[in-house]
């Protein structure tokens, strides 16, 4: 086991990319994730990998398309406004079924917003983002260690399903420093020769990468094929963490940074005698609907805590199917709730539901 390092989330992610065998990174500077491009600009050439500062996020994502289409392990990262610019390219990548890793170090919006952390890109990340019917696997790290771990996982899932994977982090997880350890990793052997555009030898038909299927009959076949893939992803790739749910009467549902704050809030609430647990979705797509539904047999209320105006709470409600009340608490604009603030809100809600 390698030794611990003290790193920023963004740096850990960049180092993980190198260790995961990322062949190419294309990016454009934007706060709060410019460290990624800086780190890779310094380190990638030492490993004979390609790193390039593109002229825009639009160019970055299309460079990713080109390199991924040629069969290379490729990655980009940005923050909210830059990710918005990439949406068209991401839709093409999903349509053309290209594996790649995209990282969004979420800042608060809309518009130019602020450079402070936010979770306002939940809908964009999980419900489409770009045009057309597609899904990305969305991984939500809650620590610097996970910023590193999910790079390996993300690349592997992307290859496994020939689908873009999004790591949805935020400015706080990206900027904070924690201990991180890089585990030994072997890149799975994946044969991409049946589709990667590496130059057509006489021995095979030409490969072409496209998302265009102009005949509706053929386009629908392609859509159904994608849907089949997304179904498989939903069946096999749901990931979540549960803390203190065994005896829980109430449940926090939160991901990423919010989940960390909720852990502290949970400690405080439990000291006050409120038996509350936490369910932290690790994959935001596919979403742990099933587990939430199971927990309705046990808990009296769920509270979704987010750094937005209430986005994931809709998925919690979808999972719960009205069986127990689902409440929401959030802060926006780069402001973050304190654990005490969350506990105060929780207590108010418990009283309200008790009275009613």
């Amino acid at each position: 086991m390698s030794e611990f390092k003290l790193m920023k989330g963004n740096e850990a992610m960049a180092e993980a990319a190198i260790q995961a065998g990322c062949d190419a990174y294309f990016g454009y500077p934007i706060t709060p994730q410019s460290e990624v491009l800086e780190y890779l600009a310094r380190e990638m050439p030492k490993h004979n990998r390609i790193v390039m500062q593109a002229e825009s996020e639009v160019a970055s994502i299309n460079m990713v398309y080109g390199a991924a289409g040629a069969g290379f392990r490729t990655m980009t990262s940005s923050s909210s406004p830059g990710i918005s610019l990439m949406q068209e390219g991401i839709s093409y990548i999903a349509g053309a079924e290209l594996p790649c890793l995209i990282v969004n170090v979420n800042r608060a919006g809309p518009g130019l917003g602020t450079i402070q952390p936010g979770q306002g890109d939940y809908f964009q990340s999980t419900k489409g983002g770009g045009h057309g019917d597609y899904k990305m696997i969305v991984l939500a790290p809650a620590s610097v260690q996970e910023m590193a771990d999910f790079v390996f996982l993300g690349f592997d899932l992307a290859d496994k399903y020939r689908n873009p994977v999004l790591m949805l982090s935020d400015g706080a997880i990206g900027q904070m420093m924690e201990k991180v350890q890089f585990k030994p990793y072997t890149r799975p052997e994946i044969d991409k020769s049946s589709w990667a555009t590496t130059g057509k030898p006489k021995t095979r038909n030409r490969n072409y990468i496209t998302s265009l299927h102009i005949l509706p009959e053929k386009m629908e076949v392609h859509n159904l094929k994608l849907e089949e893939k997304f179904k498989k992803i939903r069946e096999n790739e749901v990931r979540f963490e549960e803390i203190n749910t065994a005896d829980a009467d109430y449940l926090f549902v939160a991901y990423g940074l919010s989940a960390r704050i909720c852990q502290k809030a949970m400690d405080i609430a439990r000291q006050k005698g409120i038996r509350i647990g936490l369910l932290r979705p690790i994959t935001l797509y596919p979403y742990p609907y099933q587990r939430l539904r199971e927990l309705t047999a046990q808990v009296k209320m769920m509270l979704s805590v987010e750094l937005n105006s209430g986005q994931m709470v809709e998925d919690v409600r979808l999972g719960v199917e009205g069986k127990v009340p689902v409440e929401f608490y959030g802060r926006m604009g780069g402001m973050m709730p304190t654990p005490e603030e969350i506990v105060h809100h929780l207590e108010t809600l418990i009283q309200y539901h008790h009275a009613n």
């Binding site: 003290l6 706060t31 900027q175 420093m177 201990k179 502290k264 949970m266 304190t338 005490e340």
Partner: protein
């Protein structure tokens, strides 16, 4: 003040001041030292668009257990290096906690009586050492004297990691600054008692 044993198990600290005062590197040195001792650590900076000036702060948590929230509203200790930070964070120190401030930059310290408030003339002392930038290390030395959350050796090891190698010729003066801070705090503590 929470006991030495308590602070060694869990310490939640905020360091705040102007950008350029060495706020972030003070916190980072402490975080590194925590890692040297196999503690759980988190270092959460405030970050802004300006590279220099403006206000800066970082929350450092050192713990024997897994750290939950890296963002806090109440702290065991605060090291504040300018007046706005004093005004903002003095009310957020937990009762019985420690508020350490740089007395050259702060003319109006908190009047709270339920916490220990100690001023260190770190800027004056740093200027005497002919290196104003050692101010933050004097503050760190003073803090560690009052709250020995990590061992001295760990801090020295951490310093070597935080300082890029091209600045390693500055290690001795930083060490000196730490020792000076410790001595100053010891003096202040005696006065306090």
């Amino acid at each position: 003040m929470n006991s030495i044993n308590d602070c060694r198990k869990l310490e939640e600290l905020i360091v705040a001041g102007f950008g350029g005062q060495g706020v972030l590197s003070l916190g980072m040195t402490l975080a590194y030292a925590g890692m040297v001792e196999n503690k759980e650590i988190s270092w959460m900076p405030s970050y802004g668009p300006e590279m220099r000036g403006g206000t800066a702060n970082c929350i450092v948590i050192l713990s024997d257990n897994k750290i939950s929230s890296p963002i806090l509203s109440l702290f065991d200790s605060a090291i504040v290096l300018n007046q706005p930070s004093m005004d903002k964070f003095a009310p957020r120190v937990k009762p019985g906690g420690l508020l350490l401030y740089e007395s050259g930059n702060i003319f109006k310290p908190s009047t709270r009586t339920d916490i220990d408030i100690i001023g260190i003339p770190a800027t004056t002392e740093a200027l005497k050492m002919k290196n104003a930038k050692t101010m933050n290390m004097i503050m760190l030395g003073a803090y560690l004297q009052l709250k020995p959350v990590v061992q001295n050796d760990s801090i020295l090891e951490a310093l070597a990691k935080v300082l890029p190698e091209k600045y390693h010729h500055l290690l001795p003066i930083n060490r000196q600054a730490l020792e000076l801070g410790e001595a100053l705090a010891k003096e202040m503590k005696t006065q306090l008692v």
